[in-house]
């Protein structure tokens, strides 16, 4: 019997501490409730385009930003 590790990664998502089993940015974005929602993402200060989220692995300590449009001057 194979055991799958369900290691929870300790990350910071939009400034808040999050423990998540998500292994990729795409999984994390879905877990945060943004599947099918237009958001923009960055990991550790670097932009990650939507098409690359599934191939972007996450690690403990990563800082993730999930942004959307707002009022601005």
């Amino acid at each position: 019997m194979t055991t799958t590790s369900t290691h929870l990664r300790e990350m910071t998502v939009n400034g808040a501490a999050v423990a998540s089993a998500a292994g990729t940015l795409a999984e994390l974005v879905a877990a945060q409730g943004f599947a099918g929602v237009k958001v923009a993402t960055a990991v550790n200060g670097e932009f990650v385009p939507e098409r690359r989220r599934a191939e972007t692995p996450l690690s403990d300590g990563d800082r993730i930003e999930i942004l959307s449009a707002r009022q601005g001057g």
Binding site: G33, K38, A40, F47, S68, R70, Q71, G72, G73
Partner: protein
């Protein structure tokens, strides 16, 4: 006139000309911010009343499972205007470049209002960071609208970096103090006769905006003066009228101020002209 001779173009157009930025023609010379309004409905109505063809937006963190951004975008898209996302709050070139990339994907535009802020009290642009970010963004294919001071040397560096619009402040963001340094703004206008120049920030009253337009500035970007007015919708219309009047005045050609009075009514034919004042009863 010889029929084969081409018509000479007029030196100034007869009707106020359109604003052209990065190849896009925009009917209004007012660019309006979307923040600080009492409600989303008032914001939408104010944008419509202003006639603005370009509005600024920002990027902010979305709450988990939130739809705030999607709702806001629906509201903005209904206005059928160009979106100019900003990098407000960024303090380094790297933050600004990342934010610009995120904005490009989210809003499907390569326009970016570049803000790199140096100081929280004055919201003064970090001019070195601004040039660094603009250089990188132009390399990445962005059309950069840099929020800058009126500094001529920075303007030259931004132009050399590939910026085809420059946006000097009138005075610090949100102060409503108008054009704090008109001499330097005139100098900038004179040095860049063909560069679209937009006064961005510090405008408090329609008269400030009209003055900028009379000086030959191509457009004015403002937010607080409309959003925080008692009646933002009427104030938006007031700014639109002032900017149109200022532009028309610039294109019509203002007279030079003079220290000496000159009568506007003809002197010839003035009655009683030959009577010595000393002999009048």
């Amino acid at each position: 006139m010889n029929q084969n001779q081409p018509l000479r173009p007029l030196s100034r157009p007869a009707a106020p000309s359109l604003l052209t930025v990065y190849g896009e023609q925009v009917a209004s010379r007012l660019l309006l911010g979307t923040a600080l309004y009492p409600s989303p409905q008032v914001m939408s109505d104010a944008v419509r009343a202003s006639g603005a063809g370009i509005v600024t937006v920002s990027l902010r963190r979305e709450q988990a499972r939130g739809r705030t951004g999607a709702r806001f975008l629906d509201l903005i898209r209904a206005l059928s205007v160009h979106l100019l996302p900003n990098t407000a709050g960024c303090r380094t070139a790297r933050e600004a470049v990342t934010t610009a990339e995120m904005a490009r994907e989210l809003l499907d535009t390569d326009w970016i209002k570049l803000e790199v802020i140096a100081n929280d009290d004055t919201l003064q642009p970090d001019l070195l960071g601004l040039v660094e970010a603009a250089t990188e963004l132009v390399k990445r294919g962005f059309k950069v609208f840099p929020y800058m001071t009126e500094d001529l040397s920075v303007a030259e560096r931004l132009a050399a970096a590939g910026c085809r619009v420059l946006m000097p402040w009138g005075s610090p963001i949100g102060t409503g103090r108008g054009l704090a340094n008109p001499h330097a703004l005139r100098t900038l206008r004179a040095y860049f006769p063909d560069m679209p120049l937009v006064i961005d920030a510090g405008i408090g009253a329609p008269s400030h905006a009209a003055t900028a337009m009379e000086m030959g500035y191509d457009a004015v970007l403002l937010n607080t003066a409309v959003a925080k007015a008692q009646d933002p919708i009427r104030m938006a219309a007031a700014f639109a009228a002032a900017i149109e009047a200022g532009r028309a005045a610039y294109e019509a050609g203002l007279i030079e101020p003079s220290d000496r009075a000159t009568p506007s009514t003809p002197v010839a034919g003035t009655p009683f002209f030959d009577i010595d004042p000393a002999k009048r009863p």
